[in-house]
Amino acid sequence: MAEQRDDFIIALRYALLKKGTQQKFSLFFLIIFSIIIITLDKLSFSYIQKTRSVLNDLIYQVAIVTSSPEKFTKYVIKLTYDHYAVYKENEELKEEIEVLRNEKIQNEYLLTENTILKEALQLAGSKSLEQDVSIIAKVIIDQQSPYLKSFLLNKGSKDGVMKGMTVFSKKYLIGTIIESNFLTSRVLLINDLNSRIPVIIENTSVNAILTGLGKDNSLDLQYLPEQYQLATGRNIYTSGKDGVLAAGIPVGETYTDKSQQVKIRSLADLNQALFVNITNGQLRR
């Protein structure tokens, strides 16, 4: 028993300390070095943050070049897939146009009614959802990992991008800035498990917290009232209760899936976002 233990210790010590042929560092030294780096990163001293910011910028720039074959492969695969899906999509779009035509007529009526009512309440002309800052940025790396669903953008603190700013794609909220380097920044997407957005459901006064599920555009609502049944076809807007995001920003919608269950999905296609708008998300009334 003791001999076996000794053998184990000897083999392990050999694995950790012995430098093999053409090895400059032992594994033990490198593991200790890694632990020091992790600790320094956690402590977040200002000079560490600056070093990390420079390192991030450098690596992101190299990654843009090296990820070009991947982008091309994805593009070719998507093109092939889209080509075969075009007939089905055309049929669906025709049906959707019919529905939208009907909705347009209804909306025009509601718009007229709304204007009349606003005039009556002397609220006409009030502005909402007007952003103080709007920076257009390009998605340079779409690095989806099992830990973080995020995008890397080509605008950083040099262009006024700061941590906490909100990011939109085609007028829909897609995430918030969680890391701002000098030249680049990282967006935490709304479909990430770590994302939490206070929202309100259309035509109701129900408040909830919108979280990500980490799968494509799927989202989830937490802290809904007990026994509350989610209806299909409802839009979900930010409630503005966090004091960071403006109220009334469209985020998601409810729909019925194949198994006839009501699910929530993002209004923006998070996998297709190429250019995004970065704003400070505050209202200017």
Binding site: D7, A11, L12, Y14, A15, L16, G20, T21, Q22, Q23, K24, F25, S26, L27, L30, I31, F33, S34, I35, I36, I37, I38, D41, K42, R52, L55, N56, I59, Y60, V62, A63, T66, S67, P69, E70, T73, K74, I77, Y81, I141, D142, Q143, Q144, S145, P146, Y147, L148, S150, I178, E179, R186, L193, N194, G214
Partner: protein, 170 residues
């Protein structure tokens, strides 16, 4: 003296490292790009690192493994050094297995990949849990780890052929 032969030899010898650096700088994965095939995603870097640390460590400097881990951390946004330590733990287990094994066989090496993956992931998850606020997609991680283990024998002859190629050049 630098000749075409020495350059080609150095290139062939450095192929796994070049490929590892390439993989660490982008999320290239054939399976994840094809619709409906994302389910077969696996971590090719782990397979390559385990294979070379176990069989031909002279081709794979541990310093490079450390840098590759740091690059990956920066790109995926995990705490700096966490992926590096994951790969190094994988190397420790692989080196330990090499030391205690007399005759190497595919089946033995394949099944010893389970404890290697277990310890590497254990250290990695512990660090992420304690040093960051990131949440895990456990289902996805388990699936990726399973397919990484499952695909090891597929890449085994492929990676072995690289060794043969180098021997021929030698």
């Amino acid at each position: 003296m630098i000749t075409v032969k020495t350059i080609s030899q150095s290139f062939i010898k450095g192929l796994p490292l070049i490929f590892l650096y390439f993989l660490s700088l982008n999320s290239f994965s054939i399976t994840s790009s094809i619709p409906h095939f994302e389910v077969f995603s696996f971590n090719l870097q782990i397979i390559i690192i385990y294979f070379y640390a176990l069989k031909f460590p002279e081709y794979l400097g541990f310093g490079h493994v450390f840098i590759i881990g740091i690059l990956k951390d920066v790109l995926i946004g995990t705490p700096l050094g966490s992926t590096a330590i994951r790969y190094l733990v994988l190397c420790v287990v692989a080196t330990y297995i090499r030391n205690v094994t007399l005759r190497s066989k595919l089946t033995t090496e394949w099944f010893m990949f389970i404890p290697a993956l277990f310890f590497a992931n254990l250290v990695y998850f512990t660090i992420i849990n304690n040093f960051s606020n990131l949440a895990f997609y456990y289902e996805e991680l388990l699936r990726i780890t399973f397919f990484t283990f499952l695909f090891f024998p597929i890449f085994y002859p492929l990676l072995n052929s690289h060794r043969k190629l180098y021997k021929v050049e030698d």
